[in-house]
């Protein structure tokens, strides 16, 4: 079989300052077949963006040290216009708006995010991790 004919797995970059949440998110997505890179903050994420051949999806926390998830999403759209954006936050939209952490229309998941919800949202944006398969709950 020609390896070049093998379907590519969607590439996902997970950005989260909480190492437990980042690790769990990465593991869930990897087990579902996605090609996952991770970063602990926006600066690290942008470095990774520049090194990645393709980026299909950025998943980012909103409130983290340094630039916010919204700032990272805007910058990512400039660097990788084809990448979909999915934000996650434990803060309510009201609380984030009070601190100016809003303004863009991105898909936002409320943390804590369960496995089924995460895989459903990711699949809706970039398709299943393993081509032809729907995510299992």
């Amino acid at each position: 079989m020609d390896p070049s004919a093998a379907p590519t797995r969607p590439s996902v970059l997970v950005v989260e300052d909480d190492d437990v949440v980042r690790g769990a998110t990465t593991r869930i997505l990897s087990e579902a077949g996605y090609s996952v890179a991770q970063a602990a903050n926006a600066a690290e994420a942008l470095e990774r963006c520049e090194r990645l051949d393709t980026l299909d999806l950025l998943i980012s926390d909103v409130v983290m040290p340094g630039p916010s998830g919204y700032e990272l999403a805007r910058r990512t759209q400039e660097l990788c216009p084809e990448a979909a954006i999915l934000l996650m936050s434990g803060y309510t939209p009201t609380a984030m708006a009070r601190h100016g952490l809003d303004g863009e229309v991105f898909r936002l998941l409320a943390k804590p995010v369960g496995r089924r919800e995460l895989l459903g949202a990711v699949c809706a944006l970039v398709g299943p991790g393993t081509p032809g398969e729907e995510p299992q709950p």
Binding site: V20, V63, G66, Y91, A95, R98, H99, K111
Partner: protein
């Protein structure tokens, strides 16, 4: 209570025999309260919800330390076990207990507002990502947002000698809200880590 560290193992001697065979871990220690998690939650389900006059022991620098207090289950649904000192209240915790938390915070001083984020948070105050351009000792009005809450915590504070620190001068209500949040956050973090460790095993 100052000698208690997060995740420290503690044990009890008490008139309740089942209590003394359970290992517990400290998830947070605030004022006169230590929030605890049983090593095996199933073992704790048969305990009474309130056990006064128990002795909580732990090791500190190679020595055994014991504190007298009450162990109670504040919320059955949340599994919120807490040990509260009833003996020598001078043993209450005075050392700051901080959690690592990036939370949006607005500081108002002299009519100007600084939007920044916390790097850690406790009942006593917080460390900021950006040091305010204010002199040490400057009073500030802080509005701190917490995960899952629409309404911010509003508290007066003082800029510390290290200007990335703000010490809260909070009333009892605010202090209680912060203490409840810190304990709940630490407990959730503990359980999340335990679940991940189980998954990995």
């Amino acid at each position: 209570v100052n000698r208690l560290a997060a995740l420290q193992r503690v044990y009890f001697s008490a008139p309740v025999p089942r209590l003394s065979i359970i290992d517990w871990h400290v998830v947070a220690a605030v004022d006169t309260v230590a929030a605890l998690e049983p090593a095996s939650p199933a073992d704790a389900q048969w305990l009474p919800e309130r056990m006064p006059e128990v002795s909580m022991s732990f090791e500190h620098d190679g020595q055994a330390v014991s504190l007298l207090g009450e162990l109670s289950l504040r919320s059955v649904a949340a599994g919120d076990w807490r040990f509260e000192l009833t003996g020598d209240l001078e043993h209450r915790r005075t050392a700051p207990f901080r959690i690592t938390l990036c939370a949006p915070i607005a500081l108002v001083a002299d009519g100007a507002t600084l939007e920044t984020k916390t790097l850690d948070l406790g009942v006593d105050g917080c460390r900021l990502e950006a040091a305010p351009s204010l002199a040490a000792g400057t009073p500030v009005q802080a509005a701190l947002s917490l995960p899952g809450h629409d309404d911010p915590v509003a508290a007066m504070g003082i800029v510390g000698d290290q200007r990335d620190q703000v010490a809260f001068d909070a009333d009892a209500g605010v202090r209680s809200r912060l203490a409840g949040f810190v304990i709940a956050w630490q407990r959730a973090t503990w359980r999340q880590r335990q679940a991940l460790a189980r998954d990995a095993a």
